[in-house]
Subunit: 273 residues, 2 copies
């Protein structure tokens, strides 16, 4: 069974799309066709989308879903002409908040994923610069400035997790690869020892690692299952011996790894407040 979902916004649309993503993951038997209409700044544009929604609804067996974060009263009024199940974020959330907190909302468009303060922007770019400069053990001079240092074997997810933490939360994230020499010695690399409290380990199922490495360098020693088994087992021994918190990332998304690290290490975000 399938139906169409429209995401309407006067800004990026990220909020309604994120919401839709969560909701739809609860309906495994359904197929949702997603139509995104961000940056709807005038009532003419909204009217056209309303027509589009009603046209789509004519050819749909199931009701159309509409998720809207439009703010202005005029635009929102037009949505009442839609033949759909409408979720108007403004009605659902802003109105009860206004009533309960006894305060008026500003009703300005496109505010939520806007720039924010210059400080916030600077934090984010600083974090990204730090993270790119300290990727994959390339730079080991500035670890005292890191919020967290992610360690793990090659292709365990260090770089995407680091970049996600920097971009989305402004976290200064370094990452350092555990090499065969480190694993053979069963010793934490000496460069990491002074920063033990900042370390977080990534682990991964060896079969999954084998698949990922095969994609990268097929039929190499590096990608062999036995090699992946040895490396992942040795890394976990290291984590346990040094009491380093770690996660098995095999079935986790980058979002899950990143937010789990924040949660388990109680790291303060520098942005998104």
């Amino acid at each position: 069974m399938k139906t169409t979902a429209f995401f309407l916004s006067d800004g990026t649309g990220i909020t309604v799309e994120t919401l839709g993503h969560t909701l739809f993951s609860n309906f495994e038997t359904m197929d949702f066709i997603r139509i995104r209409r961000p940056y709807l700044l005038g009532t003419d544009e909204v009217s056209k989308v309303v027509e589009e929604i009603n046209e789509t609804s004519k050819n749909s067996e199931l009701p159309i879903l509409v998720f809207s974060s439009l703010v202005t009263a005029k635009s929102r009024a037009l949505l009442n002409n839609c033949n759909c199940l409408l979720f108007d974020i403004y009605d659902i959330f802003i109105k009860p908040m206004e009533n309960t907190l006894n305060v008026k909302s500003s009703r300005k468009i496109g505010r939520s994923h806007g720039m924010g303060t210059f400080d916030n922007y600077k934090h984010r770019i600083d974090a990204l610069n730090f993270t790119m400069e300290n990727d994959d053990g390339e730079n080991i001079k500035n670890y005292q400035l890191a919020d967290v240092i992610i360690i793990g074997v090659s292709r365990s997810g260090k770089t995407p997790t680091s970049l996600y933490l920097a971009l989305n939360y402004g976290i200064h994230t370094a990452n350092y690869p555990l090499t065969i020499d480190d694993l053979n010695s069963e010793n934490l690399p000496s460069v990491l020892k002074p920063f033990k409290d900042k370390l977080f380990g990534l682990s991964i199922n060896p079969t999954r690692l084998h698949h990922i490495r095969q994609e990268r360098k097929s039929n190499s020693r590096y990608a062999e299952l036995a090699q992946c088994q040895y490396e992942t087992r040795s890394a976990e021994v290291l984590y346990k011996n040094y009491n380093i918190p770690f996660l098995d990332t095999s079935t986790m998304s980058i979002e899950e790894i990143a937010t789990s690290i924040l949660n388990l290490k109680q790291i303060q975000r520098r942005i998104n407040e």
Copy 2:
């Protein structure tokens, strides 16, 4: 005026936090203290958070807000004991969707930001690898594989935008810096000419660029206002002469730049469907 907002989730909490971020940006006069409680997997944990909410509410002048994406009926029932304005995503969205679509939700926890398919994961990592390898004009061999090539002067926002597009939408994003030589010649760099349809230009207010460059290399020729004025003006001339779509990013967040590029160039996302 301030109050406290709790974000409860059995997963990452990204959905409720994104929603809160949007809603709160509509209340400029309010100060919201955010307390995040992700990965609440058992009713014991939820009960503790309910206690925490009620304790907080005793010392709060204004009502406490609670945003929950908890899925299990037992956990959600506990929330009714909260002294707060409760927004239960499940009640608000899932129930009407079930009724309207006449289909049952799966009621599984922590699904929304989970791994998804191996294909989705691979798309995302492939995009990130491509984007890192093709950052800042470092690699110009694979532009035929790019979904988009972002161009602009140094510090106009190319790298953060590229990484955001790769990480969040799986877009293969290359970026290429417009150098002084390129700008002096008023010619599109020859390496870019075959890929004109993939180009997207970033522009920026020269005063803002001056501030950003000052942070990076203070009192350099590179950071001088006159230099920034010359470069930004020349870049815009280039964009116009070659009919390259471009954006002034001065007051835009990375999210806004990234989603605007997707929207203006109608680029298909490879993930997040």
